[in-house]
């Protein structure tokens, strides 16, 4: 039988190549090899094959082992995706560490221009990742010549520390004349932050408190260039808002620093999958709107935009404004040694003003937020 012969031959060749033949056997085989070109070719071919098989086995075994080692380390908590790292505890810990070290050295070395890269769609693992997406921006830093980029941004003299890597961005708004700002926790992927006001002025800020569960965070402007306003032209609503109420928002979804106005209505009293901490709103929300305030017609903040439903364009979710008060309370407890964190008493709305007038007043209190490491 031909096949049987082939099998026997293969066995002999393999034995020969593996060096398992005795000296006399090997010598005998080599003389057959010399006389029979077909067998010689088979030996060469099989040698080549075994070599490839060896390489294959070596890589396959190594991949398997190293993947296992990786998984063991991962499960032991050696690393986590950056998005998962910024738990409340960690943010606070980082902040207190960072607070001691420096009040952010202002560095003006080189001209660093910022530009927002592709609006990376970011799915938070703690939310239902496949169906909602958070609206923060992914930002990249590159060093570019001022003349090339200068016309895009007027923030060439950046207040970012040298070598800082911008990680994320979004919007935020002032809740106190002393410079306290509310934004989403997921906007702050780094442990440092700068805020940029409506006219493009950069101000240094620190992260005071972040609650990843509610997705709210508190920042404070710590920049001497910050001009404290006398009062704030809007208020924060404590009660819930009625269905169908007309709403509008102001935020920084664009790559430049232009504030953008959007209008819509309150479409449900609960958020994604019945989340009672949130509203569902009908508004066109783009990445970058995360942390933007939502106002009603009385210039009361009723919520903070944080996510949008992936499938349905125009459907977004907002954290109820009452959560701001809860956040401040938690922050005050946490910061017992600190000068108290608070919401301004000087909040008042110019009732006589129309929408345009209201927005004109408000926009100076809404900030473009960037977070870095």
């Amino acid at each position: 039988m031909k096949q049987l012969d082939d099998i026997q031959l293969l066995e002999v060749i393999e034995k020969y190549l593996a060096g398992e033949m005795s000296a006399s056997e090997a010598a005998q085989f080599e003389s057959i090899r010399k006389e029979t070109p077909e067998i010689d070719q088979m030996v060469v071919e099989h040698d080549m094959f075994l070599h490839e098989m060896d390489q294959y086995a070596s890589r396959k075994n190594f991949s398997k082992r190293s993947a296992q080692i990786f998984n063991n380390l991962y499960n032991a908590g050696e690393w986590a995706p950056i998005d998962e790292q910024s738990t409340k505890f960690k943010v606070i810990q980082l902040w207190s560490k960072y607070k001691k070290v420096t009040a952010i050295a202002a560095t003006v070395g080189g001209f660093i221009a910022l530009f927002t890269s592709t609006l990376m769609m970011y799915f938070s693992p703690s939310l239902n990742g496949s169906q909602v997406l958070q609206l923060s921006k992914a930002i990249e830093v590159i060093k570019k010549n001022q003349q090339v980029q200068g016309h895009i941004l007027n923030e060439v003299k950046t207040k970012l520390p040298e070598n800082a890597k911008l990680l994320s961005g979004g919007s935020g708004f002032l809740i106190d004349t002393k410079g306290f700002i509310i934004t989403n926790a997921h906007v702050l992927k780094g442990n440092g932050a700068i805020v940029i006001n409506n006219v493009g002025q950069e101000l240094k800020a620190t992260i005071i408190y972040a609650d990843k569960n509610v997705d709210l965070a508190l920042l404070k402007i710590i920049d001497s260039d910050f001009e404290q306003p006398k009062s704030i032209p809007y208020t924060i609503r404590k009660k819930t808002t009625e269905l169908g109420e007309e709403i509008y928002t102001l935020g920084y979804p664009r790559n430049d620093n232009d504030i953008v106005y959007g209008k819509g209505y309150l479409s449900a009293q609960s958020g994604f999958e019945g989340d009672s901490n949130a509203y569902q709103i009908q508004i066109s929300a783009n990445p970058g709107y995360s942390g933007a305030p939502i106002f009603n017609n009385n210039a009361e903040i009723i919520g903070i935009i944080n996510t949008r439903q992936k499938q349905a364009e125009g459907v977004a979710f907002a954290i109820k404004s009452s959560k701001i008060f809860d956040l401040i309370e938690s922050a005050q407890k946490e910061q017992s040694g600190e000068k108290s964190v608070h919401i301004s008493k000087n909040m008042s709305v110019n009732k006589s003003g129309d929408r345009k007038k209201q927005i004109g007043d408000m926009k100076n209190f809404i900030y473009n937020i960037r977070s870095y490491n």
């Binding site: 293969l10 390489q55 294959y56 190594f62 190293s66 380390l73 995706p81 950056i82 990249e140």
Partner: protein, 213 residues
């Protein structure tokens, strides 16, 4: 840093190694050499150390350049394989620190992937220094092609051939053990089956391999 060592020497006892090594050390740190030696000898501790020391840099790099954690894991894994196969070589040279080498490979791989999916739009932002790894990547890609062919061939064999051959060639099990595992009455029957499978595998492999070259 330049270091060289031949494989024969690596496979010696580690304790004996240092005085006898034909290493041409200019600025090499002993740690790095030991680590590479461990990697070449399939020491899990070395692999673990490499992950611990270098993965987070790559994680940050990838995540700051349009990638996810999983992307970082995959790219780093490939870089580890590249380094592993490099140190398997009879005489290999590493002209930089392990850190720089791994980063350079990862950067190369990630750039390529971004270009493939059409997401590459600007210079990658990175603070780590990197070296040119073109030559190494070329060798790696060649091996990659052969690996893919073998993988496809093995997977299209069907059972029991696939498991039998994997047991013999990958897991280095003896015929007797395999006979027992697969339920052959004796090891000769198992061996016979193995050779039948092997012939099929070779046919599949070479039909692709020759085209590939």
């Amino acid at each position: 840093m330049i270091l060289k060592f031949s494989k024969k020497i690596i496979s010696n006892q580690i304790g004996l190694l240092l005085p006898y090594l034909s290493i041409n050390i200019l600025k090499a740190e002993y740690n790095e050499i030991a680590l590479l030696k461990g990697l070449a000898n399939n020491d899990s501790k070395a692999v673990e150390t490499l992950y611990k020391n270098h993965f987070s840099t790559i994680q940050h790099f990838i995540e700051n350049n349009n990638g996810s954690f999983d992307d970082a894991r995959d790219v780093f894994q490939e870089a580890m394989i590249t380094l592993y196969e490099k140190v398997q070589n009879e005489s290999f040279t590493l002209t930089c620190q392990i850190k720089t080498y791994l980063f350079s490979i990862c950067k190369h791989l990630w750039l390529k992937r971004l270009q493939q999916i059409g997401k590459y739009s600007s210079p990658l932002s990175a603070q780590e220094e990197s070296i040119s790894v073109e030559a190494d990547m070329e060798a790696f890609e060649k091996k990659d092609a052969a690996f893919a062919i073998m993988d496809r061939a093995l997977n299209s064999l069907g059972e029991p051939c696939k498991s039998l051959l994997e047991g013999y060639y990958l897991n280095k099990k003896g015929m007797q053990e395999l006979a027992a595992e697969f339920g052959y009455t004796n090891s000769d029957n198992a061996k016979n089956q193995k050779y039948k499978c092997l012939m099929r595998l070779k046919k599949l492999f070479f039909s692709q391999y020759n085209i590939g070259d």
